[in-house]
């Protein structure tokens, strides 16, 4: 991934920004996040299978509480929201403005999601595979998404709410640290991680389809 990013950054520096050339970048990012999601799924299922029935019932009862550390990030929760755009920017020659902005929005949200998990993922246990390095993979993915954002920004304004979120990047993670370290916490972590990874995957896929006509995605 690092090599790819280096190469792509060189290409980016030499060539004027064109969102269509991001197709390769997108494919890589999507592939990465897919892998992470599978990883998260496996971790979660391993953990669930290791639970006993008594604990499982307990966990079910407290499930409804808001425990994901990334809940502060407002993410689109349905297709419509994901695909829609609400802000108009100046038109760009390559694609429709709505598409362009929607892509940026998705990319930024994905970036924040990944970023929010960089630190907490270190406490995630490997489960059956003892040496799974989740944190570095997240870092690489973050770098890739950043590249994509930079490649597609092309003068567009940054999101207005991005600055505010820099203050509390990890949300309520630290608050929940005080809670009892137990199966519950691990369960929550794993469930949230799995969900967030799937979100990023979906967002990136949609963004990719929006930007690259050769990916055979059209609205």
């Amino acid at each position: 991934m690092n090599r790819v990013i280096l190469l792509l950054s060189v290409v980016f520096l030499g060539v004027s920004t064109q969102p269509i050339t991001d197709g390769r970048l997108f494919s890589i990012a999507v592939g990465r996040v897919q892998h992470l999601h599978l990883l998260a799924q496996r971790l979660f299922s391993d953990f669930e299978s290791s639970l006993q029935s008594e604990e499982q019932r307990q966990l079910n009862k407290i499930f409804l509480q808001d425990f994901c550390n990334s809940d502060y990030i407002i993410t689109p929760v349905d297709k419509h929201e994901t695909q829609r755009s609400s802000v108009r920017v100046r038109p760009l020659p390559h694609c429709t403005t709505t598409q362009y902005y929607a892509v940026l929005k998705l990319l930024s949200i994905s970036y924040r999601l990944v970023e929010s998990w960089e630190f907490p993922s270190r406490s995630l246990s490997g489960g059956s595979a003892p040496r799974i390095q989740i944190s570095p993979k997240l870092s690489e993915l973050k770098t890739g998404i950043l590249l994509l954002i930079k490649a597609n920004q092309d003068g567009a304004d940054l999101f207005p709410d991005s600055s505010a979120l820099q203050l509390a990047p990890y949300g309520n993670y630290y608050q929940s640290l005080g809670a009892d370290e137990s199966l519950r916490r691990t369960y929550e972590l794993l469930a949230c991680f799995k969900k967030d990874m799937h979100k990023v995957e979906t967002y990136l896929t949609v963004a990719k389809c929006r930007l690259s006509p050769e990916a055979n995605c059209t609205l």
Binding site: Q34, H37, Q41, N60, F63, L64, D66, D71, T75, V77, D78, K79, H80, T82, Q83, K195, H198, K199, T202, T205, V206, K208, C209, R210, A215, N216, C217, T218, L219
Partner: protein, 609 residues
Amino acid sequence: MRNVFEVMLLLLLLLLPLVTAHAGGQPNSPPGKPVLTSCRSPEKETFTCWWKPGSDGGLSTKHSLFYRKESSDAVHECPDYRTAGENSCFFNKNNTAIWVNYNITVVATNSLGSAYSDPVEVDVVYIVQPNPPENVTVSVMEDKGWPFLRVSWEPPRKADTRSGWITLVYELRVKLKEEDDWETHLAGQQKMFNILSLPSGGEYQVEVRCRPDHGFWSEWSSTSKANVPHHFRRDNSTWILMTVFFAFTFLIVAWLLHLNRHNLKRCILPPVPGPKIKGFDKKLLKSGKSNEIFSALVVPDYPSTPSSNYEDLLVDYLEVYVPTERELQLEESKDPHDDRLKSDSSTSDSDSGRGSCDSHTLLVDKEAKEEARQAECGQTRTEVQRSLKDWDALTYAQIDMVGRDVPSGRVKTWPSLYSPLPRHSSGPLDQQSSLQMAKQHSLSTSSFLAQEASGESYWDVCSHGELPRPLRAKTPPHRGLRARSDADVSGAGLKRAPAGPRSLAPHTSEYVEVQRVNNKDVVLLQPVVTGCYQALPGEVYSKVKRVDSDNILLLQREAREEDGYPGAEQENTTQKASACVYAAVLVQDQMAPMVNGYVDTATMCTLTC
């Protein structure tokens, strides 16, 4: 009256169910617990949940579904009970939130109570099961004469794959109509697939299904049929036929090889020629008695008659005519060496290199040599006769003079080859003029027979001319062995008579030794000085005693050893005196060149002293 009775009957009838109901003892109970069987979303935008109701408890039961989203405590009821059918709840787009956990509960209520099902956590993302693919078309196409099926389909209508919201992977399966087992192929995300491996013609059935990247497989689509024409799988049959044919041929060849394995073995791996001596008995060798060993080696019919093989090897050959006495002498000399001879010849028979220097046959028993020498000098008549007989068979001689300076006087003959010497029982005409030739013959034969080493010993053998032998009486008619030398060896040797005495008597032989080899590769011989034989150095002249009736020049002998030689004067062919010979040689030289080795006996002097 009648009306009252009817009314009562009617009442009874009406109350009967109630009575029975009460009397039956089946009490109404609260409904049984319903069970949420599954919740599915076909396109990740809406989802439906189904439940199975429990016992209704005899009363009409009403089921209702309640759900809660993860982030709020508000309980909502199912918005749509009808769209999805009986015992179902359908959540439309507006009510569906992805990545949000739904806590769903079904409640069964009847007049007596209600029952709650176990809650179920649902995240729409993980319950996606799309509809089967649509518009599955199968077409038969041809590729280089071979038919194949091209299957194409479309994603289910509701699934939004174009925007990337949902990513589907496909799988298809195919079978012949009459078969039972399906053959599945994974098609990935593509919407078209070629089935190439069609075993035969007939009607093929194809079905396709799909699945999101994280979700459940859809149901199989409706079966699409296609008729594939019957095609002859020629390539398979051809290969099978060829394989069978070759296997058959291979088996036959292998069987033939097996039958002839001995011949093949002999051909491919020829037996290594080992040292095989005819008549050589290893056991005798172990016994350690050399006499027995060598006597065992004696082959009665040795040496064998000349065969055509030898003619091939003929390089040069000498025909030496040896007079009877000389023959005897030679035989004598040969006799002790017979064993060796035979051994040598027999060994050299099988030996690859005939008489090579490195041949082991050269390593002749020194003892035998000495023995032979002794015997030679003191051989009796009988021995001579015996040896003569053996000598009869010995008709081969050759001098293969290699340009090799032999200062010591040993003729090295290698490779010494056999050359046929025709037997001669002719008269003096065929006689070798010079003793030299006889000497050479003797030399050559001995050298040949005894190879190098034994050849050496031969030269040391004393001339039998000195020994008194009554050769005339018992000698068989002399068989002249004409030695005809194409090389001017003999001639050269004969021409030069400075060094040693030579004998002119045709039927006398004398042992000579090689003086030297001149630049023309001519071996110069001189009589052997050692042993019983004495050679007088320098030129020797003899007085002519008288001329015989046969035109034989009888010279006066000078050598003292010849004195005891009785009857020598009377013999034509048998005797040879060392001193007497020399003059004859000289005379001969003057008379005729000895290049070809033929000397006219008329001009030649035979001497008997």
